[in-house]
Amino acid sequence: MDRTEKYLSSLFESYKLPVSEKRKKLFEEFVIDSENVEMVNTIVTNQKKMVDSWKIKNLIADVNEKQLLIPNATVDKKYEAEFSLKKYNLTEISDFEIEGLENAGELSFEKALGKITGTPKNSGEFKLTFKFKLKAQSEDSAFNEKQISFIVNPNPKSLWKDLPSDTTDTYWKEDNETIYSKLGDKQLVVSSKRGRSHANVGSFRDDDFAYTHIESNGWSVVAVSDGAGSAKISRYGSKLACQTIVDYFIDKLNDEFSASFSKLIEDNHNTPSDEIKKELSLSIYNLIGGAANQTHKTLNEYATTNNFTLNDLNSTLIYTVFKTFSFGTVVLSFGVGDCPIAHLSKDLSEVKLLNWLDVGEFGGGTRFITTTEIFASQKFASRINFKIIENFGYLFLMTDGIYDAKFVVEANLEKLETWKEFVADLNGNNESSIKVNLEENNSNLCNELSEWMDFWSPGNHDDRTLAIVF
């Protein structure tokens, strides 16, 4: 059967006019009639055209319905993302282009590599045009177009504002403070800076610190505190806590007490006995634990007289009291909260943690000097620490703004490797190559540390306080 015959026989059948046996001859003549052959030809050609066109429409619709997800980019951050037919399994496409990338900045599509590369400069949601041709389409046919969404996040650094805090506030304090001081035969440098999260909304620095050196008997005191972000006047809580510590020790470590206490420490070192040890332990417990107790009391009194709750003053607190003896430096310390105190030997060969951290299961689950339960807890005594350091190197006290960014987790505080990195960082091994020269006659030390403190660390925008005794 030829094409015309086949077509016509099924056409007539669909019209319920099947060719009967007796009309077969007539049908054969009809089939070879040149006019009819021509007409069937035209119909079949047109049908094929329509089928092809419908196929293409379907394929285009398939591509249009397909979600082509391109990973988000960030302004100023180098970007590279695969964009290929293979990745999106677009097997019916013969050729394609991507347009509109330039709106996002210095980005381009490298066809040979199948990659979008470059560095975006503008943030927002951009519409890219994906122009494609199907294998089923002729080469000279126009491109089909599909819109693809492309998200560029802003550069987080550019979003932070630096709004000054309200200087007329009752509990206002300097946004940033850096000091250098000689503490007897040692030096102290401390920098305490308002975090970006506070600067962004013009709120206050919650961290604080205080220090003293008692010239007549050689004792030094350094205290660092971090006011809880959620507590109403914790910025004052941290200040009052540190000041109370300093005042307390100036009072307690008077020359008379210092003489007997120092003798006890010497006896314990030179002629140790259980009895001396017991007496010394009790003495340290009373002195160091007493300071924490006094601070709690002072904060409580302040809250009561000024119509605040004790929680309004919530602050973590770490402090050390130290003095040079002939056999080394005696360092006493106490800590509540998540701020570490550590000693690092000068040759960086040994690190000693002088406190343990209160860290909760969830972020922010810390304890404060205002937490009454800590004093009744059996663990209270373990917050007090006594160490003799033969070769004094560096004593660090820091708030979580430094610790979170540089040590991340508690376990890293035990690792010498992390401390070496930390010291290298202070020595200029950082993004901005800022070097802090921890030397006695460095008149620029305060500026160096203050600048170093502004390091960028994603997610860590809390207040930062770092005290270094060296």
């Binding site: 998200i151 969830f362 972020g363 689950g365 991340v408 987790v409 994603p458 925008h461």
Partner: protein, 211 residues
């Protein structure tokens, strides 16, 4: 880096079909854009979307805001509101997602939950079973939103004390609701983990706090 995980449980049952689901899509997209311009949110926010109608789906697994792409939320023309089943899936998901603080890892901030419905649970039995499970999870805040005249506050009150009511689920109202949600999230970011109860910002006039 500490994450602030935020879960959205969204009602996509039949009654949301048409304008409401369109309004929801627009409002969500507006919220995401607002959050993207907050540096703190960009650093710490992770988002997840679970939708519920007759089917319960995790439309978007917990994803960092930086990498987040909002999928289009669609809903069937009719069908039940399986809120109970959705809460069950939520509990399972949160338990899998949560990073607890250990010696080597920073714990997440307490997660936040936003639940929005324009009706009431069809699967009451599952709902009753899910409520104590949701409460057992240490959410930093749960905010439940009853949108439109048919929504029932009383079921939501079983889950949280923070119930808000929207008179309609139209474009303007949803937009202002989700603006408020982003304010709440940004607030959560600031006080993350430290406070027991997240302080909610003052809602706009379209959002009524149900007491």
């Amino acid at each position: 880096m500490r994450r602030l995980p935020v879960y959205f449980l969204l009602d996509t049952s039949g009654s949301m079909y048409g304008e409401p689901i369109q309004a929801l899509n627009n409002a969500l997209s507006g919220m995401i854009n607002t959050l993207r311009s907050d540096p703190q949110a960009l650093d710490s926010l992770w988002l997840s979307i679970i939708t519920f109608d007759k089917e319960v789906k995790q439309l978007m697994p917990l994803t960092e805001l930086v990498n987040f792409q909002l999928p289009e939320i669609v809903c069937p023309q009719s069908g039940p509101t399986n809120m109970g089943e959705a809460l069950m899936l939520l509990c399972k998901t949160v338990k899998q997602d949560m990073r607890k603080g250990t010696e080597d890892q920073k714990g997440d901030w307490k997660p936040l939950l936003f639940l929005m419905t324009d009706g009431s649970p069809s699967d009451l039995l599952q709902f009753k079973e899910a409520v104590p499970q949701v409460k057992a999870i240490n959410f930093g805040a749960i905010i439940a939103c009853a949108a439109g005249p048919k929504s029932k506050d009383e079921f939501l009150k079983e889950i949280t004390t923070n119930v808000v009511h929207l008179d309609t689920a139209d474009s303007l109202t949803l937009k202002s609701f989700f603006k408020w949600v982003s304010d709440t999230i940004e607030n959560g970011n600031k006080s993350a983990g430290v406070t027991e109860e997240l302080a909610l910002p003052t809602p706009p006039s379209e959002v009524h706090l149900v007491i």
